[in-house]
Structure formats: C-alpha cells, structure tokens
C-alpha cells in the first residue's frame, strides 16, 4: 500500500517536473518569437527609411532612372531607333519632349509595344522630333539625338518624359538636359555638349518637324508605320491604345 502511494507520488512529481520543463521551454520559444518580431519590425523600418532616402540609380533629382534602364536593357539602339536594325517594320513616333501626352504615351503605351513587338525583333521604333510646344523643344530634341550618337538616345527620351516639367515653363535648361544625359548613361558629356549645340543636329530637329507637317500630323505624339505591307509611311495619327499600334505593326509586316 505504502509502496504504491510512493510510486504515485514519484510519478506525480516527475509529471510536474516535466510540465514545468515544458512550460520553461514554451516560455523560452515565445521569447525567441517576440524577439524575432521586434527584429522584423526594425528591419522593415530600416529598409523603408533607407529606400526613401536612396537615389534612384545615380541621381538624386531624377525619377525612374533604374526603371528606364531596366525597360530598355538588352534592346539594341542606334541613333533614335530602338530595336533590331533589321526589323521589317518601322514604327515612327513623332513627339515633342515637352508634350505631356507624349509623356503619358511613354509611360502607358510605349512599354507594351516595346515588350510585344520591339524586344522580339518584329519592329523597330524610330523617334523623330516634332517640336510644337515651344522653342525649348528644339535644343531638347537635339540633345536626344546627341545622346543617340552615344547609344543612349532612347534612355534620354524616356528619362526626359519621366522627369518632364510643366509645358514651356523654362525648365529645359542646360543643367536639366545635362542631368538627364548623365542619368541616361551618356558617357562623354563633353562630346554630347558639342553635338547637341551643333548646327547639324538643330537642323535635323527642324527637318523632322517639317516631315511631320508634310505627313499632315496636327499633334504629338503622332505615329506612322512602314513595312513590306505598306506603301511608304502609313500615318496612324494618335492611337490611344497599345493594341492599335501592335495591330498596325502586324498588318505592315
């Protein structure tokens, strides 16, 4: 009788000890969990603070430098022509770098066309200056062509749009253009400066503007397509959706 009760007492003690150990372990693991939560909160807070202060890819004053670089990465460029030079179809965009509608196109429609038609080599995209907003659009356009001479034309155009100021407000200064060129990755800024101020490039901007007028375009951006399926440049006006441009490219091919 007494043997049995002492065994029961021992079992009860062992069970109590095991429960105690279990409680200790549970407490310790919960403490580890709480510490992890604090670390995670601190980590996220640090990431957000660092990221809100970080320069977007090299220049503190420019928006979307990295985004533009990523969007155009791996696509050949020559002058202001984006895409495989041997692509059968050419989509011409007549734009004014100061034009807000062109900016909207650059952000919302052109990326889809680049991904579906240009990246695949089906079409190339040829940007031509059609200056309508103000006189400042002429040096801006020449600066884009000069960036194109260093293989950074489209980076310049896209970055300009992403950082565009209010129409004809005087923001297109030498400093602004230089900042865009640096952000676009133009290596030789001195050569770019010489080129953009040259009579030849300024004349080219005026020549493409005259071409747009000959094509009866009345606003920017205006598009034209040329390929085996068209007779010369076929004007498209300003189609409001990427799918319309994609269809036109398909039909021209």
């Amino acid at each position: 009788m007494s043997g049995r009760s002492s065994r029961e007492a021992r079992e009860a003690r062992l069970q109590a000890e095991s429960e105690g150990a279990q409680q200790e372990r549970r407490k310790r693991l919960l403490q580890i969990g709480s510490a992890a939560v604090f670390l995670a909160i601190a980590g996220v807070a640090i990431l957000i603070v660092v990221s809100s202060n970080e320069t977007s890819g090299g220049d503190a004053n420019l928006e979307d430098v990295g985004l533009v670089r990523h969007q155009l990465s791996g696509i050949p460029q020559k002058g202001l022509v984006l895409g495989d030079p041997k692509a059968k179809v050419t989509l011409y965009e007549f734009g004014d770098l100061q034009c807000p509608v062109c900016k909207a196109f650059s952000e919302q429609i052109i990326p889809d066309v680049i991904d579906s038609k240009v990246r695949s080599g089906e079409a190339k995209l040829d940007f031509r200056n059609y200056t309508i907003i103000s006189q400042e659009s002429i040096p801006a356009g020449a600066a884009a062509i000069a960036a194109g001479e260093q293989g950074r034309g489209w980076n310049f155009i896209e970055l300009f749009y992403r950082n565009q100021g209010p129409e004809a407000s005087g923001y297109v200064s030498d400093e602004f253009l230089t900042e865009i060129a640096r952000g676009a990755g133009v290596k030789d800024i001195a050569a770019w400066n010489r080129a953009r101020k040259s009579a030849a490039l300024l004349a080219e901007v005026k020549a493409t503007t005259a071409e747009a007028q000959r094509l009866d375009f009345t606003g920017t951006p205006s598009f034209a397509v040329e390929g085996p399926g068209t007779s010369g440049k076929e004007t498209l006006g300003t189609p409001g959706e990427a799918s319309l441009l994609e269809e036109a490219i398909g039909e021209a091919g």
């Binding site: 409680q23 407490k27 990295g66």
Partner: protein, 154 residues
C-alpha cells in the same frame, strides 16, 4: 489552489493546431502558384498580366526593385512558400518556429514591397498584392500556431 504558471491566451479559443496547419498548407500551395506564375512571366522578358488590364504589373516588373542580387524576387517568394508548406506539413516545435520565422520575414518583406509599389514605383501589381495577402494570412496562421502551441506536445 496552486498558482497556474502556464502561458495561456486569455478569453480566446484558438483553432486546433491541425486546422491551422491544414489552412496553411492550402495557402502556401496557392502562394507557390502565384510566385511561380510571376517568375515564369518575368523570365520570358515580359511581365505578369494584370487581370483587370492596366500596366501596373508591367511597371512593377520592370522596376529595379523587382530583382534582388540579380534574381527575381518572386524566386525568393517560391522558396519562402515551399518552406512554409513544409512547416505546415510537419509537426513539432521546429516546424512551428520555422513556420513563424519564415512567414514573419515574408510578411515583413511584403510590407516593404507594398510600400515600394505605393510610394516609389507608384504602380500596383495585382499579383504582388495577391502574394502579399497570402503571406499576411500565412503570418497570422503561423503566429497563432506558435503562440498557442509552441512548447506543447505535437
């Protein structure tokens, strides 16, 4: 009366651990699907297709934030969801702690990515939002599992 030293959550009845694990299994499997889709869509040079149209997915996928150390962050998402699936399928404290730890990191990173989408990239990708929602659910499930059952017999 002996003092109750056990750590309990007062006035709250937790679901059974088995229920939490079962739901976590489904959510993690779904998460693997979403992260895999984003990875495949991106690896083809494109971007996930936004269900309601728009170019949010395109913008987010083409932003510099979509890659970490040159690897698409959706790949890290797949790894995270696979670990969470394993943690949901396994018993014991190790699985409880790993599940909690991984979902905590995943949830924290999702908060950061959502911040980036809203304030830095200024575009919303539904697939990323879907993943963030799944990760939030997994974090809640794993937190409940850990708070309620860690240190207790499996």
């Amino acid at each position: 009366m002996a003092e109750d030293r056990s750590i309990t959550v007062p006035a709250m009845r937790l679901p059974a651990e088995g229920t939490l694990r079962m739901i976590a299994t489904f959510v993690a499997a779904f998460g693997i699907g979403v992260a895999t889709y984003i990875t495949i869509a991106d690896s083809g040079g494109g971007a996930p297709v936004c269900l309601a149209g728009g170019s949010g997915c395109q913008t987010v996928a083409s932003s510099t934030y979509s890659h970490l150390f040159g690897i698409n962050i959706a790949v890290f998402g797949i790894v995270g969801y696979v670990l969470l699936l394993a943690a949901a399928l396994l018993r014991g404290d190790a699985a409880r702690m790993v599940g909690f730890g991984v979902s905590l990191v995943g949830f924290g990173y999702s908060v950061y990515l959502t911040y980036l989408e809203l304030f830095k990239i200024e575009a919303i990708c539904q697939w990323c939002v879907a993943s963030a929602a799944l990760m939030t659910i997994l974090f809640c499930l794993n937190a409940l599992r850990m708070i309620g059952y860690v240190g207790k017999p499996a």
